[in-house]
Symmetry: C2
Subunit: 263 residues, 2 copies
């Protein structure tokens, strides 16, 4: 599959499993920036320029752009254009709806915006995810065990001796797909990641939660072993400094995480 | 709570629990329409004009607008403006993410676009829903048991003697809220709706799935009893005709569903 090759090639070339999450917000921009949507774009371009040889992917979190309305969506599209074509682009949109609606979301993300990958929510089941899986050469990351405190509310409920997130992983692996099917498992759950790797050793994992959210890179990568993974850091890199040296400091942080995560 | 009064007032004035879902798509427009984003807006305005005295709410499904990119989001915003101010507006966006990200989605839906209500996905738990609940005078509909076939995949998994959707309803009722907390329960599950009404008689339900999806209005309303509800029909009204009489036929269908659903 071409998308898998694209990922493995950029991971080899840049010697990295690091993904930078572009969770950009006006209030967190460097202090010399003005508070305009254009400033968000300038900031993103600087971060991409400073880190593009240290990452295998950029993850664009839709909420942060949608909050600025039409201007924000323009910044999202322009940011996407400035990502090098050999780096994986992830639409962190966590979409999911009934079949005919999910199809429209898939058109939005894969055809209209041409992302390589999306995060989707499994709560609504098979027909809510299938329209994404029907595309060729995309990566679909289904939420399994997320990095946030709320992951303890429902995702760990045990049914037939297995937590909900395990049902999500095992059931979805039976669904037909033309694409690469992966899962989101937070770095805040290394023990569970280790256990997931016993029954799903070859799935591509998108692992967020390192840095500000408290996930530990060493414990996470030990739990993951040599299985395929993309490891995301957002705020820990973007906001390494709010001074004129923000891009330089972001690069240093990206180098730090690139090494911590390893290959 | 003002939002509850707003809902009950419009339900009384228009003698209806019907909501029309604006799932508008270019390929389904009347045959004399051209295939432009502007045509989507003209169509929506005609549907709203033809049905506004028969409904208590309009539900705008984001996927259908996002698929047309920035133009589609412009149509969504202009459609929203053309909804009478005493009718409830529902952002059917099914959002949900970790806390700081959900906060940005809430800003987008409630502050930037000023919707009265949103649908949210509970999979990520409390901190993914809380930023929406913190707003005053909004209605937050959490997905419980959805109308689609995929609702059988995970939502009915039994843990501690209760299906997942019951855990979602019972757990979320313990969360702090400044807003009205409601649930999405599909009309395709009347038996389960009846059972949900035994432990959650006073929650506001958003009930989709009547019409094209196969839900039966009479069985649904019998199961719901006199509990508060908004009942959505989308395609069954929007696409009642693809001729020049589409608005007139949509009105007739809306009158039909208004009566079938009753008060």
């Amino acid at each position: 599959m071409r998308i898998k090759n694209k990922l493995f090639e950029i991971q080899q070339i840049n010697n990295t499993r690091l993904c930078v999450g572009l969770d950009t917000e006006l209030t967190k921009l460097p202090i010399h920036y003005d508070q305009s949507p254009e400033a968000l774009l300038t900031f993103n371009k600087s971060i991409i320029e400073a880190t593009k040889d240290l990452v295998c992917a950029y993850k664009i979190n839709f909420a942060f752009y949608e909050q600025y309305g039409v201007d924000g969506m323009h910044v999202l599209r322009e940011t996407l254009k400035s990502i090098p074509s050999n780096v994986i682009t992830i639409a962190d949109a966590k979409r999911g709806d009934i079949g005919n609606t999910s199809r429209a979301y898939a058109i939005s993300i894969f055809e209209e915006m041409k992302f390589d990958s999306i995060t989707v929510n499994p709560y609504m089941g098979k027909d809510s995810v299938e329209p994404f899986l029907q595309y060729e050469d995309k990566i679909i990351f289904i939420l399994a065990l997320t990095s946030n405190p709320g992951s303890f509310d429902f995702q760990r409920l045990v049914s037939d001796g297995k937590p909900l997130y395990q049902h999500v992983i095992e059931t979805s692996q039976k669904w037909n797909t033309n694409s690469e099917l992966g899962y989101v498992v937070g770095a805040t759950h290394p023990n569970e990641l280790k256990e997931i790797r016993t029954y799903s050793p070859n799935s591509l994992m998108l692992i967020p939660g390192i840095g500000t959210q408290g996930g530990d890179a060493t414990a996470t990568m030990e739990a993951n072993g040599n299985s395929p993974a993309i490891v995301n850091v957002s705020r820990g890199i973007l906001y390494a400094s709010n001074g004129a040296d923000f891009a330089e400091k972001a690069r240093l942080k990206a180098e730090f995480y690139q090494k911590e995560i390893g290959m």
